[in-house]
Structures are given as C-alpha cells and as structure tokens.
C-alpha cells in the first residue's frame, strides 16, 4: 500500500493527483468488491440460520407450554407485551425488539420437566418444587449455547424470570438490579398474562383483579419501577394483549416484525 502521493507536498494544487498506481487501484477495487460480495453472502447465510434456529426454538417453547396453552399465543403475547413494556420504560427500539424475540422462549426449559410434576394438580412437594424450578437453568442451558445476541438474551431471560426483586426467587436468589432488566420485565408480563388467561383449574382473572395483584407485588416479586410503568400504561398494554389474542401473529411475524 505504499503510494507515491504520500511523498508529495500536502499543498498539491490538484487534489485528484493524490491517487494510487492505476493497476494497483483497480486490483484493490476488485478485492473490495469480492469482499463485499462475501460479506453480504455471509450475512444472508447467518440470517437464514438464525431464523431457522429461532423458529425451531419457538416451536419447542410452544411445546413446553402446551399444558397451559394449546394455542401457542401466550408465548407470542409475552414477546409483544415485553417489547411494549420495554419501550414504555424508555429502552431503545433495538433492545425492545430483541426482547420481543427473546422473551417468548423463557419457559423452554419446561420441556425437560416431567409431566408428573408439570401436570400435577394441587400443591407440589418440596422435592417436586425443586424439580420444577430446574426449568429456568435448563432453559438457559438450551438457549445459551448460541453466541447470537437474541439467544444470549433469551438465555438470560430463561435463567432469571423467576428471580424476585426482594431476593426470594430462584435459581440464584438475586435481588433488585442484580436481576437483568430483560428478566425483570418478562417476569411482570408473564405474571399478568398468566392471570388473565383461562386455566384448566381456574377461569381467567379480570383485568382489574390482575392489575391489583400486580400492584400488590410491587417491590416484592417485581421491580417497583416496572410495575409503576406497567400500571401507567395498563390500558394500552391490555389493548395490545387483546389484539395479539385476536390476530394471533405467527412465529414468523414475531421474528420479522420491525
């Protein structure tokens, strides 16, 4: 890359005289053009792989969630609601978008929880509770093998969505801001969405009831700032919840929406 012009005075009258040897410049341009092609092809391939991987993991998450929801729309709602709440909290559009794609996989680890525990009616024994609680770490393990940012975030959400703001959660007993924001947000939307869903063992709570129960956990299970933000935007968030239930966006839409 030695160039004749660098030896010339900086006060050269014609600026275009500052250039490389013509053949060398032409060759460099060829290199750059080829490199550009490989760069685009590589990005395209990476996008394809990410997409396929994402779709497969969403399917697996929906399968893990079959006991509670045979439509798969609960996990899709978690994504959109988490995105809306992140935006309401002042996070960037990029962060919120990534959370929309990541949060739906938070319970993927339940795929490894035995049905005898997962489907047990009534209270779990301490031993069963321990087995149940493994799903957080198991989910993080399934998702965390990737270096792609969205799956790294998904692993973080899976691992921390049962931590509690007061430190009484699991698996690590983290408290306050030591719990990643993604996990704190997902915990709140998961709580609200689960309450407002019909379950085999109980009908859905009304929205005002669910909001009241959410408010009661302010500073206990959940980050007070996130609860306050949720309550301040409750109407819009609930409208979004109803819209997602009605429109039931596909996993592809969840991945591709801007």
């Amino acid at each position: 890359m030695t160039s004749v012009p660098s030896l010339e005075p900086a006060s050269l009258p014609s600026f275009d005289a500052r250039c490389f040897d013509e053949a060398a410049a032409a060759q460099m341009e060829r290199f750059v053009r080829d490199f550009g092609r490989m760069y685009r092809e590589r990005n395209e391939a990476l996008r394809e792989v990410t997409r396929a991987h994402h779709a497969a993991l969403l399917q697996l998450s929906a399968a893990a969630d079959l006991k509670d929801d045979d439509t798969g729309v609960h996990i899709v709602r978690i994504g959109y609601l988490a995105e809306a709440l992140a935006l309401a909290l002042g996070q960037t559009a990029g962060y919120a978008r990534m959370l929309r794609k990541a949060a739906p996989m938070h319970d993927i680890g339940k795929i490894g929880t035995p049905d005898s525990v997962l489907k047990k009616p009534g209270k779990l024994t301490p031993e069963e509770r321990k087995t149940m609680n493994c799903h957080a770490a198991m989910g993080a393990e399934i998702l965390g093998r990737s270096h792609i940012p969205v799956f790294r975030m998904a692993a973080e959400v899976a691992l921390t969505h049962h931590e509690r703001y007061d430190g009484q959660g699991y698996p690590a007993g983290l408290s306050g801001d030591a719990i990643p924001l993604s996990g704190r947000i997902t915990a709140v939307v998961d709580f609200f969405d689960a309450l407002t869903m019909d379950r085999v063992y109980r009908p859905a709570f009304s929205v005002p009831e669910a909001l009241e129960m959410l408010a009661a956990e302010r500073g206990h299970a959940f980050d007070p700032v996130i609860v306050d933000t949720f309550l301040a935007h409750a109407e819009a968030i609930d409208a979004l919840r109803c819209r997602i239930t009605r429109e039931c966006p596909s996993f592809d839409a969840l991945i591709d929406a801007p």
Binding site: C19, R33, T92
Partner: protein
C-alpha cells in the same frame, strides 16, 4: 436510509471507503476537501460524516468537526475521524473537537461498518 458523507482528499481512499459503504444500503456523498465537506455537510445534514483529519485547503478535518458539532441543524450528526497518525494526542484532539469516534488508516473494512452500526445503535 442513512445519509453518509465521506470527506477525504485522497481519491482512491475515498473510492475504497465508498465501496465499503456500498456493502450496505446507505445514501453516500463525497467531498475532497474540508471546505467542500463543510459546505456539503451544511446542505445535506448527514447522519454520519467520515472525516479525514489532514486535508489541503483552509479547513482541516478538526475544523469541520468543530463546525458540525456547533451547528444546531446537525445535532444528530455523528462524526468519525479518519486519522493516519497513531499518536494518542491526535485522538484526543479529535474528541476535543467533538468527534464521536475515530478510525485509523489504513482503515479496516469491517471496522468501518462496525463503527457505523455502533453509531446507529447509540
């Protein structure tokens, strides 16, 4: 589409920079001197300016950077200085002039793109 202005006096370096930016979808503009760069920047109010430090003419890259940074119409404009010198005071001078980041020449094609993406994300 992001508007990017390249201000660089070396015609071939400018072309290689432009070709690098063409890996992605950007609206690309070019100027060969600090003076022309400042005129074009005021007119276009670009999102990102890739700005050479050493250029012939009355305005150096640092002058152009200072002007961009004090222009209310270009509050959104990010400036990435291109410098051939490795001294850290050169870097410091760039940041004092308000530069958002800097790239060392010979520039790395991937670093140019990564730096721009980082600016976009910020």
């Amino acid at each position: 589409m992001k508007k990017i202005l390249i201000v660089e006096d070396h015609i071939d370096i400018r072309k290689l920079l432009k070709m690098t930016l063409e890996f992605d979808d950007f609206e690309i503009h070019e100027a060969a001197t600090g003076d022309a760069g400042w005129v074009l920047a005021s007119e276009l109010q670009p999102d990102i300016v890739l700005l050479d430090v050493m250029m012939p003419g009355t305005l150096t890259g640092l002058d152009v950077c200072r002007r961009i940074k004090s222009d209310p119409g270009m509050r959104h404009t990010k400036v990435i200085m291109l410098t051939a010198r490795v001294q850290s005071d050169d870097r410091a001078a760039g940041f004092t002039a308000g530069a958002d980041d800097y790239l060392m020449k010979p520039f790395s094609t991937l670093q140019v793109l990564e730096t721009i993406y980082r600016m976009e994300a910020a």
